[in-house]
Symmetry: C2
Subunit: 467 residues, 2 copies
């Protein structure tokens, strides 16, 4: 039965306390629509308050529409706040917007991870095994860089799938890339001139801005971040996404990689942060060696996350530090505790060690590739074939659609929205406007929709854009 901590000595009357508690339970979604509330008598005896207190509280909730009463049957939860949605929209900061957009049926979000295909039963089985071993290790704090076993599994993974030769001692595990970026800035120093790709993943720009005052937007050319601009701004620490630029989809060619390394090698205080955030999902072309593995001068800090490859709720990312920065990390920031619970670290280590991670990645890659294929085919062979040019197809979970029907970006988004499709304007990924910004390009993520939804979404776009 419902149990609340009532405070008899509080200035707030008991009925009001009871009312607030129940209201909060309903608003938080713990009490669900249609759920039966305890009878007044039962709740009064359970909570040791008078029936009148319960009656008054219920009356208030009735009056405000939180509950309803069925004569002869009892009280039921009426109001249902879609809590999860509320939480998400608060996160997205577009709660207001959502209200106006009841009609969005196909949301081509770029940051969706399809959790329906996550091998939850395998994960749960490993979790249960670890729990039943009940080791003390689960309770004691771990190494500041993370549980060694997990770091070894990550090193092995990097060796096998990215051809990177790193020791587990270079790896730092943390609660998400956002957290690790903050740590990295503390490690390198706030006074550096940091460069971020423009356009780029907007969070990256926000994280750097929240942590340092010197952040410069680096324009992109066809090969990736412009070295000329990097020099021009006097940048000394550069954040890049060479495997698959977000959102342009550029895969940085080896020539630009070598050029960037050359730039970094020229001065002692220069570093490159290589963000390999979705390198697992590569569909065509030969893999290009990571900057980290091309680097022979300890200039590259490599960072990657399990948020995209496993599930967003698991906040596990890692960075690979060059040796001299490992030493600096341990002397300067070694006081920080590792932010990921030991339990999650051990579960992931076993998940990787038993081959489940590898299996999962190759399965998801297949699923995402198929979705991309469906979308590409529907666009390039359907009604849109003459007006839409697709780019950014080599990897990742989104495509760029450049539309030639006379509409500008806002009109493209608006007309799509009127047909129930949400897309994202390329301009919104620019932290600073540039003169040659594409005017009619939109971003469409396909990872959160299944094949049938993608087809219907594209058909809706045909209605919106073919004029």
């Amino acid at each position: 039965m419902l149990t609340f901590d009532l405070a008899p000595k509080s200035k707030m009357p008991l009925y009001m306390q009871l009312y607030s508690f129940i209201k909060a339970e309903i608003e938080s979604g713990r009490l669900k629509k249609g759920e039966k509330l305890p009878s007044k008598r039962a709740l009064s005896s359970h909570m040791r308050v008078s029936i009148v207190t319960v009656e008054t509280a219920y009356a208030q909730l009735l009056a405000e529409g939180y509950i309803n009463s069925k004569p002869g049957s009892g009280y039921y939860v009426e109001y249902s706040q879609p809590v999860w949605e509320e939480a998400e929209s608060a996160g997205n900061e577009d709660k207001q917007e959502n209200k106006d957009e009841a009609a969005i049926i196909y949301d081509f979000k770029t940051n969706s991870v399809d959790t329906a295909d996550f091998p939850f039963s395998v994960w749960a089985k490993i979790s249960r095994e670890i729990l039943s071993e009940g080791s003390r290790e689960l309770l004691d704090s771990c190494h500041p860089q993370g549980v060694p076993l997990l770091r070894m599994r990550i090193a092995e993974y990097l060796r096998a799938f990215r051809g990177m030769d790193v020791s587990y001692e270079q790896i730092v595990v943390g609660a998400g890339s956002e957290y690790l970026m903050g740590l990295m800035i503390q490690l390198l120093g706030r006074d550096n001139a940091y460069g971020v790709e423009n356009p780029g993943y907007s969070k990256i720009y926000e994280i750097f801005s929240a942590n340092t005052s010197r952040v410069f937007p680096v324009p992109m050319d066809s090969k990736g971040a412009s070295v000329e601009a990097i020099r021009g701004f006097g940048i000394n620490v550069l954040h890049v996404t060479p495997s698959h630029h977000f959102p342009l989809g550029v895969v940085m060619p080896i020539s630009r990689r070598m050029e960037l390394l050359g730039w970094a090698n020229a001065k002692a205080d220069r570093y490159i942060i290589e963000d390999d955030y979705d390198s697992e999902f590569r569909y065509s072309g030969r893999p290009i060696r990571s900057l980290q593995s091309l680097d022979s001068n300890e200039k590259v800090i490599y960072i990657n996350t399990f948020t995209k490859s496993l599930a967003p709720s698991m906040r596990i990312s890692y960075m690979v530090l060059p040796e001299h920065l490992c030493k600096r990390f341990s002397s300067k920031l070694g006081f920080y505790s590792c932010t990921v619970p030991v339990f999650e670290q051990l579960t992931l280590a076993k998940f990787m060690g038993g081959g489940s991670f590898e299996t999962h990645i190759s399965r998801m890659k297949k699923i995402y590739r198929q979705r991309q294929h469906i979308m590409l085919e529907k666009i390039t062979e359907g009604g849109l074939k003459d007006i839409v040019t697709v780019s950014g197809c080599e990897a990742g979970m989104h495509l760029l659609l450049t539309v030639d029907n006379g509409m500008d970006q806002n009109m493209l988004l608006f007309t799509a929205r009127n047909r129930g499709v949400r897309l994202y304007g390329l301009s919104s990924y620019y932290s600073f406007p540039v003169s040659d910004m594409p005017q009619s390009t939109v971003v469409a993520g396909f990872s959160g929709l299944d094949g049938a939804q993608i087809i219907k979404g594209v058909e809706a776009l045909e209605k919106a854009w073919l004029i």
Copy 2:
């Protein structure tokens, strides 16, 4: 089967690449002693290299003793690196130190949490329940401030046990207080003049120093942080531990609390960070209202952790923001994902909701109080009674011993160490030296030792200090 990324265009011959990969697998412990390698034919077809390539690689591994061959059966891993041992010793970082100090038998550490008494079976049961529900909620990302249900449980707990009236919407959950402090500095701004108690918990000083350049050490008087000094330094954001100062053990009286609030109220940009890190473990005296609940002007940010009350491996802390800072948080830092895995948050919410947290806290309080009592009795009624004055007994997990036998702090630590006892010098908690620093005071934590160990430890101190 073993899978490697061979680089056909590399200068390194294919057999050499294959050899290196397998060697690395063996050295890292992923291929274990006795494990059978794939047959030459199978590996050659799997990796699409010639049999000769595999043969040459195997021959090299054989020659170097990494593998052996059993005629008619195949190839087996021979060499085995004791992986776990190596990893663990790297984790401890004080392997060298340990060698010199093999004789430390009683370590009166101040940051021990006795995990032996953690109700692991209850926790594991709840975890298993959550896993078996297998909800999608476990995989999707949560509200940036944390799962609403957990925040509600925390709000209820604060109401019941700390008399604080806060809404779950004011609560931000994060992966440890260290992380939340960094977030708080981003929220309030790096340019503030931050004050930290001196002496104090050394990590606090380190965290503030790593995140901002303006940190001032505030001297303590008998009531707590000196308001005169706060004004003198021009501090506008003050970090304090009013429930139980670390390490002095001062409980800030109501008069100083009001004085600090008066200081904060005088200017718009002044704030107090109330760190209530071990308020659960209070043994005597009436609880004094938290600064947060005395504050009527939105001046206090309250922060607390489950690291001390549950287990160090669980990185869950929370802060309570005044309303106007909640709004600022959501607009300025709402882009950050919550750093605690949803699974851990739900487990803790259920643990709290079912009353297990309350039970655990009151049990641990009893255990710690008993240990404190044993230690106090052994000191004040044993051989040390004439030379040791104990302070800081109202709360927490450590005591201050001021020794009057002619020895200074270093001599006290040294002689104790010679008897197998490790204590901690009070001076090490000063981020800046002060003129009236006690010369013969040491800090002794009792939470990591049981009654018998405490008694033997104090007996060893008698031998060390009675001269």
